[in-house]
Amino acid sequence: MKETKKYWKGLEQLQKTPGFEKYANKEFAQELPLGDSDGETSRRDFLKVMGFGVAAASLAACETPIKKAIPYVKKPVNVDPTIANYFASTYHSGSDQTSVVVKTREGRPIKIEGNKLSSVTGGGTSAQIEASVLSLYDQERLKGPAAKGKEVSWEELDANIKSELATASGPIYLVTNSLSSPSTKKVIEGFKNKYASLSHVAYDQNSVSGQLDANLAVFGKRALPSYDYSKAKTIVSFGYDFLGTGVNTPLANKQFAESRRLSASKKEMSRLYSFESILSLTGANADYRTPIRASEQGAYITSLYNTIAKETGGQVIDGLPSIDNQILSKAASDLLHAKGSSIVVSGSNDASIQMFVNAINAMLGNIGATIDFERHQNIRSGDDKAFGQFVKQLSSAGGVIFYNCNPVYDHPLGSKIAASLKNISFSVATTDRMDETNSLVSYLAPDHHYLEAWNDFEPVHGKYSLSQPAISNLFNTRQVQDSLLSWADMGVNYYDFLRTNWAENLASLSKKSILDFDAFWEECLHDGIFEPETVVTNEVDMDLSVLGKAAFNITKPSSFLELVIFENGTVGNGIQSNNPWLQEMSDPITKACWDNYLTVSPKQVEEWGTELGDMTTQMVNLTVNGQSLKLPVLPQPGQKYGTVGLAIGYGRSVAGKVGNQVGFNAYPMINVDEGGQLDFNIYANVTVEPTDEVYAIAQTQTHHTFMGRGNVIQEATLSEYQKDPQAGRHMPKIATSEGFKKPTAVSLWKGHQYANHHWGLMIDLNSCTGCGTCSIACQTENNISVIGKKEVLNRRDMAWIRIDRYYSSDSNGDSYADMEIAAENPEVTFQPMMCQHCNNASCETVCPVAATTHSSEGLNQMTYNRCIGTRYCANNCPYKVRRFNWFKFHDNEQFGDNLAMNNDLGKMVLNPDVTVRSRGVIEKCSFCVQRIQSGKLEAKKEGRRPVDGEITTACASSCPSEALVFGDMKDPKSRISKMLQIKSMDKGVEAQEPRAYHVLEELREMPNVWYLTKIRNKDEKKEAANAHS
């Protein structure tokens, strides 16, 4: 039957107007407001984002959480659901600061990335920086101001404080960590102008006051120079852990890795000597590491000084303690061969020792070449002596203001400060959470978290970094500078003050022609940094005459038990103690978490008769100058016999639920002399009494040697590499009827054809310093659960990427039992290990429900929804990278330490692109599939192929030393394809880079993760290390 009736929706359809026709066949007749995350506009509309932030944050922070999803009535521009916005800002904690980029989703900061534009940091981050985003959402932050224990309004607080300031009898102190913020310094100046009795004292937890004093004496500048390790051919470190916990570790790691990177066109690398008592990250990366007593450091340095002086025509000083050490002579000769391209550093806080270090560097011509005093660092400027003076006078002070610092806990004189605070009626603290100091003060004026605040920094002289809020303040807190401004009645808010300061003092430095200040400001805000070009003359005045006097003060080697107090690479100085990500991060060296402990040489442990079990040890009583601590012992290969080590940052009493009573407080053990000078090495009056008390230390790795397995760790020395780029490679062959073949040549598998992308990851064992930043970046990106000490003891840590740390053994390979014992001074190898995304994955075949499958782009995918949790895949994974959800780790009071998943505020940090895994399923590294997906979508939207470097994993992006390179192996122009010299084969790809290898190659798993052999710059190979393979 013929259709006669015709229905139409409107006249437009009936008349077929061109306007109608245009959209008639589209799914949506109107243009969809698709998100545009073009950087320019997102910055411009920043305040609107902030507005949304207030709404989102306050909704989540309410007492009764509102579970309804409410659509926008009026959508803020550039806040599009599922579209991330990025803001440049600056991380700061204590004295440290780093330029970062903050990723926000729906107004919530969820991830910190390095700022690749910053020459101060080199674009990397550290574990503490990565983890700091969780501290923002810590429920235990102060919710508002308080006066004498009562909550008050800011107006009330201001009135109280102003009247106290006005009536205070006696000097008022403003106590801070090192400040490098030019605008903040100006605010403080203004504050001082208003209150003449105010004086400012600064200290650093990990003080370098001695070095600053030495620099003042020798170079006339009380500042820390900038080092350039990338230019150094020879680096000699005396107990200075520049890679793990030194000043600005991201840059140090980047530069060091640069000096170590090898390629067909660059077959030279730097050589690192380390003379230290504890095994630090720097020592672990050293080519030649010599364990020395802490008291011997002076003698080593003066010996080196005299050797160098003799050769360079410097002033040889007689009567200095001297040491005859082969490695030291070798270091001296290497240094002399690398004049102007070497660095000598010391971690000592003794000015006399540092003067000799300065002199050595000066004689070698390093000053101005690898050591830059003109572009000096402002990150540490604390003065031990001034602070000691302050502590003495504190009890008679009229008042004290603690500006974001916690000296009661993190200064060795903390107990004296605490005692004096009782006598002071007027005391203010501005930290954003309760701590040991502000629980003793009368007024609390809590500061914003750095992600909520405006600020500026000058970490390196002449290089600026801006901080902008990525979210509006979650609680009723106030930026500390605003507090100072209002107490000083300066009638301006800090944002305007900051802008004005930049307009008046910085804008003129810009070489670019500036149309107006707004444009300049926006550019700085967008980049997060302002690094005006200036002419560097590199001229320094030098006065080596001070050495004569310093020579008398050099410590003589002692023979008593010595204590070395150090900072570790996880919780650091303890400011972020309440951050469970850091607490659960396994220490790069000891692989322990949730604790500090006495590191002791295995020989000493045996002498003390300490009984060691599987993750259990015994406690000892450590007494130092009358201070006593009962703490557990951890045998540490590489620790100098006769010394013990203890990390600061633990044993907090008022840190919060997570950080309280974790470990033992080492700060009071630090030696303070009459003048207030700190010494982190204690040479005398250290006694240890073993006890029978058993203690469990949670470690994520308990087998420490690689048992000579050449299919796991492949290493060679530089000279071997230069002769044969394949040196150290372990190349298993499989016997077939046609003779021996490469494992990849024999297969039951059909192989995979990848039409579009083939993702791969390359890990250069030579660049990896083992710092572990990647593991926290991964934890943040992928919503990885924190499980607490008890479950780590049960060996259930959830890390998707772990750093396997192997010690060499002295065994000749005859007995497996001997191979299990680490050498007394071992060579250390770090091997990041994550899902290898095998092309012939043994996990994929064994899953009964096909919950883990291979993607069309080479990824091994995990479908959580489908997983029933047989754990067969985990058992059958030769790399043991699969992790099981043993319990429900989210929304479960038993796992209260898992802050990111157990309260509504904490949950704001979760990455909405990644599922929070339920109980009973397996999880593992996904190659950050969500990042791949969003990168592909972005490219698709713009109608192009993804550009290399645009898509990268969280680990690779955070790695300060760029040891991890992620990319598309299908794209011949990608960085990974070029570095690995990828060649396409009928069954997958093959890397032609001679150093590239697969771990456990003979299993024919054909991973998409490639490792490059570790090359040590040693003259001869340590015999035993590889004997078995």
Binding site: R796, V849, R866, I868, R871, Y872, K880, R919, G920, L1000
Partner: protein, 454 residues
């Protein structure tokens, strides 16, 4: 020269008549429960209750209640699973293979052995379900069921899926075989029943058995057909269970010897378990005339043979590990024997290889007490065998950084206890309410003429 064949020892002693058989066996079903039975049942239910509490904890809290960790993903769970499945094997072997080989001595023990098989398989089945992270889904996602999830299907490559098919087939065939054998005996009890309730219950259970010649003929045909079906299962089930390990890449698992070695081990442990149970049952139920020393001796001989096969397999594994030249493989076996779990390996070697050799002595293999003790020793050994294979292979595999120890928790023990409770509760119920010896078959082998005619 003429020769006269030796008159065989009668399989049933004591000059039992057909009526005696009916009386002796049916009496146990018809009498009031004895105090001893009540006591045994109470203990079993107690074990079941305690075990059920730990099962509850496991289901409520998660697999973390066990001592498993990131390195050792299976331990007691799969050890117990394989152990129970192995135990089940004897029943099928006795009833199917021995039926096909016309071994008539099997007739007095096959009923109980088959019951044991079924209960053991039920116990074994607890573990594949309980060991999963999400048992509420595992229980049906493991089957290739049509679903609305799109093209979502099970993974036919996975040995765990093969397990699902192997065990479920095995369970069903064994159950049907056992039940069909029970029907004539149920009919006997039905006919003797004095009260209505038991008459109707046993009436229903006996499916209207009428004892006609045609019925008997069909019964025997079905028994033969099922025996034919069940025979390959004896070999296939444990072969497939062994493939869970053999098809993996883990050194110590990745071994082609596993299928025959597992089957031998299964029969070994199954016979040991049958012995343990039979020795108690014959004593308590005074069935010495039905289950004679000769029966025990025959079973002990099977134990010597299978025990020796297992022993040879252990040594072969060690040899092949050395011969392979594969470092991880060599280390796995050296570590097994001399590493931190040396004691488990030593227990396995002693119990499984050394102890059965005692049965070469006729005195020992015909001694009831010795047989009883050794039958338990064998099963301890077989538990350790699975523990050694699973845990010592996993705890130190390829990357030394992941090497770890496994420590069981009370929930590991509790769930094992749960299956014991389940097993014995089922077995005691069976022993009380079902005829423990196949009356119909036994009647065919009693010597009604021999002794009396003399």
């Amino acid at each position: 020269m003429s020769s006269e064949s030796v008159i065989r020892e009668p399989l049933i002693t004591g000059g039992k008549t057909v009526h005696d058989v009916t009386e002796d066996i049916s009496r146990r079903v018809e009498e009031k429960p004895t105090k001893l039975w009540m006591l045994a049942m109470t203990i079993s239910l107690g074990l079941l209750a305690v075990g059920a509490y730990t099962v509850f904890l496991l289901l409520w809290e998660g697999i973390g209640m066990w001592g498993l960790n990131k390195t050792v993903g299976w331990a007691w769970d799969i050890t117990n699973f394989v152990w129970w499945v192995g135990i089940g094997h004897a029943g099928t072997l006795i009833s199917a293979i021995l039926l096909l080989f016309r071994q008539r001595w099997r007739m007095s023990i096959n009923r109980a052995a088959e019951a044991m098989t079924i209960f053991a398989v039920i116990c074994a089945l607890q573990f594949p379900i309980l060991h999963t992270g999400r048992p509420w889904l595992a229980i049906y996602w493991m089957f290739p069921l049509p679903n609305t999830f799109g093209s979502l299907w099970v993974n036919f490559n996975s040995p765990l899926l093969w397990d699902v098919f192997a065990i479920s087939t095995y369970f069903l065939v064994s159950l049907i075989f056992w039940y069909i054998g029970l029907i004539p005996d149920f009919a006997t009890i039905r006919d003797r029943a004095k009260n209505k309730i038991s008459k109707s219950i046993y009436g229903a259970l006996s499916f209207g058995w009428d004892g006609a010649a045609k019925t008997w003929s069909r019964y025997e045909t079905v028994a033969l057909v099922l025996a034919g079906l069940a025979t390959p299962l004896v070999l296939s089930v444990h072969t497939i269970v062994s493939m869970d390990f053999a098809t993996s890449v883990i050194p110590g698992w990745h071994t082609t010897i596993f299928p025959p070695y597992f089957v031998a081990g299964a029969i070994f442990s199954g016979f040991a378990m049958v012995l343990t149970l039979m020795i108690v049952t014959r004593k308590v139920y005074k069935l010495e005339d039905y289950i004679t020393i000769q029966h025990l001796e025959m079973m002990n001989i099977v134990i010597i043979i299978t025990g020796s096969i297992v022993g040879v397999a252990y040594l072969t594994e060690l040899f092949i590990a050395w011969y392979s030249g594969v470092e991880a493989e060599q280390y796995a076996f050296l570590n097994r024997a001399t590493g931190p779990y040396w004691w488990a390996y030593a227990a396995m070697m002693t119990c499984n290889v050394v102890s059965p050799q005692l049965f070469w002595f006729k005195k020992i293999r015909t001694n009831i007490a010795a047989t009883f003790v050794l039958s338990i020793v064998v099963n301890i050994g077989m538990w350790f065998e699975r523990f050694v294979i699973i845990v010592t292979s996993l705890h130190r595999d390829f990357l030394p950084s992941s090497w770890a120890m496994f420590y069981p928790t009370f929930v590991d023990v509790g769930v094992y206890v749960f299956t014991f409770g389940l097993f014995f509760t089922c077995f005691f119920l069976f022993a009380k309410f079902f005829p423990v010896i196949n009356m119909a078959e036994v009647k065919s082998i009693i010597k009604t003429t021999g002794e009396k005619a003399k």
